[in-house]
Amino acid sequence: MRRVILAIVTTAVVLVLLLSFKSHTSTSPLAPTAAAGPDPSTGSASTGSTSTGIPVTSSSATPTATSASGGSPAGAKTVTGDVVQTIYGPVQVKITVAGGRVTAAEAIQYPDGTPRDDQINAFAIPQLQQETIGVSTPDIDAISGATYTSQGYIGSLQSALDKAGL
């Protein structure tokens, strides 16, 4: 019996030690290739050559000024943010801005491919999109359990807001 308790306690202690070391490692949640900023040179200087991810492009550097037709308020425009690489895959955000605020947000790229990704995105992406509505800065809360996706989303949102001139 003593042996059983010893085995359980030892295992638990080792686990806690390992995990607390791991939670103190200050690895950036973004992959090395990530370049949240709009500066394309940061992206091209990326060292993460192993990443098969989409290169950091100022993809819609041409702010697609989808003319405010129909019911959209005057001056509404849709902007696509940079692709931000996270260790789980690329994240990219498309927002619609009107009157200095975000009126619509959509994650057009996010990590998928494993059931785990799908499950995390199923709750994280709608929440992130929800949080984005009405903001003018990228200061939204990361979603617990989807730290990396959140960081990627916030990075891409930042670049989109920059392009939209907010």
Binding site: L15, P115, Q119, F123
Partner: protein, 453 residues
């Protein structure tokens, strides 16, 4: 019913490779550390409670996947392990490690469900269902986990005593199925493997190597031996109530390089017995054309041996065991047998090189009627000028333990200059070994074998 061997003490003169037990344990531990390194390498960092649980689940899962293959390797009859660690110590490691591994498997399942549920802000029940339904191969892995838990329950000491050996043996075969079922979810869902081809390669190589070892040493080698030696039952003879000797004859028996004191695993090809191989010690020195074992009826297997017909084909694995003349250091030798543990010692009494008075045999039985080989032992004692003591009776009848340090020192003059060969049920070998140490012997002077089921 099972005579298996552990060795303690002096290195053998036998030059075939043998693994040192401490070295084997160190290797196993190094592997476990490497597995943790794999997790460390594949995990960016841990944020929040859900991540803590999930990563604890990953570590326990990885270690369980590693442990299960180590457990199989311990039972693969790898010759350096059999010779260096000994079958009974391997069986003990396997049993302890098995229980621990089942703990890891259960912890892995629960932690992953809980961790994913916390992260996804859902209930544990819903998360469990999602895992079974959406994640590849998790359903198979769950079946595997339940099989392992079932085997674990039936192997637990309490249940084991109530189960027939045969039932337990059949149930144990399900662990192979469990290992196979659990394999694919490791690559399909394991974060450490999905994006790491080198890890997948190393992991698969480990599994393949161990299963190739099992196949080679537990299947190919015995079948090869069967064709070469064509062993058959020659005769079956009653020795004492419930005890039979079986003589097995064949060709080229000397090539097996069996020695007095060793055992084989025997598979008798009858309708009822072919599926299991049981370890029994040689009870006489091997002759060029025949081997003899002596078996006490305890389980159905040993019961059925009494009805063996001459001519029955036999497949063997072995020889195993290090309780041979090779471990001896001193001129004087004391053999201590408990019950049917007399078998390997009876063979040693006949063959150990010794001058008059160098050999002493103490044979502990609860009742003199249970003593086997009485005439043979008396004849051998006379031929070899050896002393043979029968110690019969329960502790109550004898007024205490007859094999204490004091008693042994009194019965065996010059006790501390003896090598002691000890074979019997675990309780007896443990207590006698302790008493011998108390009498002043060194560990390396004590060589023991214990019977386990």
């Amino acid at each position: 019913m099972t005579a298996v061997t552990a060795r303690s003490g002096a290195p053998s003169l036998d030059a075939r490779p043998r693994a040192h037990p401490q070295l084997v344990l160190a290797l196993i531990a190094a592997g476990a550390v490497a597995v943790i390194a794999l997790w460390w390498h594949g995990t960016p960092s841990v944020h929040g409670f859900g991540d803590w649980l999930t990563n604890a689940g990953r570590i326990t899962g990885l270690e369980a996947g590693y442990a299960v293959v180590v457990l199989v390797a311990l039972m693969a009859r790898l010759p350096p392990l059999e010779r260096g660690v000994g079958a009974d110590r391997l069986a003990r490691w396997h049993s302890m490690g098995g229980k621990y591994t089942i703990g890891l498997v259960v912890a892995h399942g629960l932690l992953i469900i809980w961790g994913y549920a916390v992260t996804a802000h859902t209930t544990v029940v819903h998360q469990a269902w999602t895992l079974l339904d959406n994640y590849p191969d998790v359903l198979m892995a769950t079946v595997a986990g339940l099989l392992l838990v079932g085997v674990g329950i039936t192997s637990a000491n309490a249940a084991r005593r109530r189960l027939r050996y045969e039932t337990w043996y059949y149930l144990h075969l399900y662990t192979y199925l469990a290992v196979a079922l659990a394999f694919s979810h490791q690559f399909a869902d394991g974060a450490e493997f999905i994006s790491n081809a080198a890890a997948r390669f190393a992991w698969a190589a480990l599994y393949i190597a161990v299963f190739a070892g099992i196949f080679w040493y537990r299947f190919v080698t015995p079948v090869g031996q069967a064709f070469r030696h064509r062993l058959r039952v020659v005769s079956v003879q009653a020795e004492a109530p419930g005890v039979v000797s079986i003589v097995i004859g064949g060709r080229h028996v000397t090539e097996l390089r069996a020695e007095a004191g060793q055992f084989f695993r025997w598979r008798f090809l009858t309708r009822d017995l072919w599926w299991t191989s049981a370890p029994y010690s040689l009870s006489a020195p091997p002759a060029p054309d025949r081997l003899r074992i002596t078996v006490k009826a305890q389980g159905e297997h040993s019961q059925a041996l009494r009805e063996l017909r001459p001519g029955t084909r036999v497949i063997t694995e072995g020889p195993y065991g290090a309780l041979t003349a090779a471990v001896r250091r001193n001129r004087k030798v004391l053999l201590i047998a408990g019950g049917v543990g007399i078998t390997p010692l009876r063979a040693l009494l006949e063959t150990l090189p010794a001058g008059p008075g160098d050999l002493t045999l103490i044979y502990r039985v609860s009742n003199l009627r249970d003593a086997v080989f009485r005439r043979e032992l008396e004849q051998l004692a006379e031929q070899r000028r050896a002393k043979v003591w029968f110690v019969a009776g329960t502790r109550d009848e004898l007024g205490g333990d007859p094999l204490t340090a004091g008693q042994l020192t009194r019965r065996v003059p010059d006790l501390i200059h003896h090598d002691v060969y000890l074979c019997g049920p675990p309780g007896l070998t443990d207590s006698v070994a302790r008493e011998l140490l108390r009498a002043g012997l060194r560990r390396r002077q004590i060589h023991y074998e214990s019977f386990e089921f």
